[in-house]
């Protein structure tokens, strides 16, 4: 799915937190980089329909947001809430909300489980999980939905290096199926490893965007140069 953003503005009272003239997100992994408060999370909240824009348009394959598009978008928020159930029940909760049948649920869970080595956690209640384990379950819960667009706000922030690499393999495999994956991160090294496209944001605006190598190898803005030590 191609997502097009035109003149998108989000204000909270008199404070303008997001102001984007134009933006296109294509299938593949789109990594949004930026410092705290740069508007990354606001952008994905607007694209996913969790927030309403103050003005501007977001088009999904040329169409406005509606129920069918909503069903084709999944989001992993920065601090996901895990239900007071087993890890397995958590992973399949979204599929149950979407009335996916039992066999299909089993198929999808089996397909994704091995990526993050969580087989031993399936019967464990969520409140007994560590921070990293919670992050894995929350990521799987979003991924098994297999939506056309998947937005992940710092999905690996709580994971150790090994789990992070495993999660990145999962994300790459998702993107190879022509799906649009949008990942918010602070980690430029992660952006180098997984991105097809990179967006760099600061103070609610997009400073740079394009193919990964174009943006990360030849940064134009001073701020991104500083971050990349160039």
């Amino acid at each position: 799915m191609v997502i097009t953003v035109e003149n998108l503005v989000k204000d909270y009272g008199s404070a303008r937190v997001l102001d984007i003239e134009t933006l296109q997100l294509n299938s593949g992994i789109n990594v949004i980089l930026g410092s705290n408060g740069s508007g990354k999370s606001t952008l994905i909240s607007l694209i996913s329909g969790l927030l309403k824009p103050s003005s501007g348009n977001i088009l999904y394959n040329g169409k406005k947001f509606d129920a069918s598009i909503r069903n084709n978008i999944s989001v992993l928020v920065q601090k996901p809430y895990l239900f007071r159930k087993s890890s397995y029940e958590n992973i399949i909760s979204g599929l149950k909300y979407r009335k996916v049948n039992r066999d299909e649920i089993e198929t999808r869970v089996d397909k994704h489980l091995h990526y993050l080595d969580v087989e031993d956690l399936l019967n464990k209640k969520s409140h007994w999980l560590s921070g990293g384990e919670r992050a894995k379950i929350a990521l799987l819960r979003t991924v098994v939905l297999e939506t056309e667009v998947t937005m992940l706000d710092e999905p690996t922030a709580a994971m150790d290096i090994e789990s992070t690499f495993k999660a990145e393999v999962l994300l790459r495999d998702m993107a190879s199926n022509k799906r649009t994956v949008i990942v918010v991160t602070h980690d430029v090294f992660q952006a180098r490893r997984i991105a097809d496209y990179v967006l760099f944001m600061d103070k609610g605006k997009i400073i740079e965007m394009g193919l990964k190598n174009d943006v990360l190898d030849n940064p134009r803005s001073t701020l991104l140069k500083q971050i990349l030590n160039k």
């Binding site: 996913s48 928020v77 239900f83 007071r84 979204g94 909300y97 939905l145």
Partner: protein
């Protein structure tokens, strides 16, 4: 002690219907008030609207409303000349249920809003991101906050079963028809029969103890 209890229940066999009616009236009132109080409480917790603060102030006031005032209002509502007089509810268990519902609803509603407000928003956000509809979202919040809500319902039931003023006014404390444990205690105390009054007091205390033990066990299991 056991002999005394056995003798008491043999000599005062009219006490069983009193206990049964108390439980029936208070459980029904707590159930009805919970049905509306929990649902509306969760919906209110999830939404920000202009009149939310005034609504919560009114609710807090109603939470501490004197039962006799509720009794008076319900009496005026269902007495023969009242708007619901034609239904013939006065001095019936139904009237007592209505009075207890009116008393318990603000407690359940108010405590639900305050106890789930913070968690409800996180749960709602997660439900939306997973594609849940409105109904599923509310059911999930009720399920996720079940321990807090169970305590809320228990508090509501405790308020209902220990209430005396309102049920006395609208029920009339009629033997075999609307006499409940609290009105029985009030009556027996007035007659100077402290032994019966104290015993029923212990029955009330025992019911409260059982409820609390059950709640504690459920919490431990969770």
């Amino acid at each position: 002690m056991f002999e005394f209890i056995k003798e008491f229940f043999t000599n005062y066999s009219d006490i069983y219907p009193v206990i049964a009616l108390s439980l029936r009236v208070s459980l029904t009132a707590a159930l009805v008030a919970s049905l509306f109080g929990l649902t509306l409480g969760v919906i209110t917790a999830l939404h920000e609207f202009k009149l939310k603060k005034p609504l919560m102030r009114v609710t807090n006031t109603l939470m501490s409303l004197p039962p006799v005032l509720i009794g008076l209002l319900v009496y005026m509502l269902i007495s023969r000349k009242g708007p619901l007089g034609s239904y013939g509810l006065l001095f019936s268990p139904s009237a007592m249920i209505i009075a207890q519902c009116a008393l318990v609803f603000p407690i359940i509603f108010g405590l639900t809003v305050s106890s789930v407000s913070e968690a409800a928003k996180d749960i709602e956000l997660t439900c939306i991101t997973l594609g849940a509809g409105r109904r599923d979202t509310i059911l999930t919040i009720l399920s996720e906050c079940r321990m807090q809500l169970l305590s809320v319902v228990t508090a509501g039931f405790g308020r209902a079963i220990s209430e005396v003023g309102a049920v006395m006014m609208v029920g009339g404390n009629i033997r075999g028809k609307t006499r409940v444990m609290t009105t029985y205690i009030a009556l027996e105390t007035g007659k100077g029969n402290f032994e019966e009054a104290v015993f029923i007091g212990f029955v009330l205390l025992f019911i409260s103890f059982i409820i609390n033990i059950t709640l504690y066990r459920i919490q431990r299991r969770e």
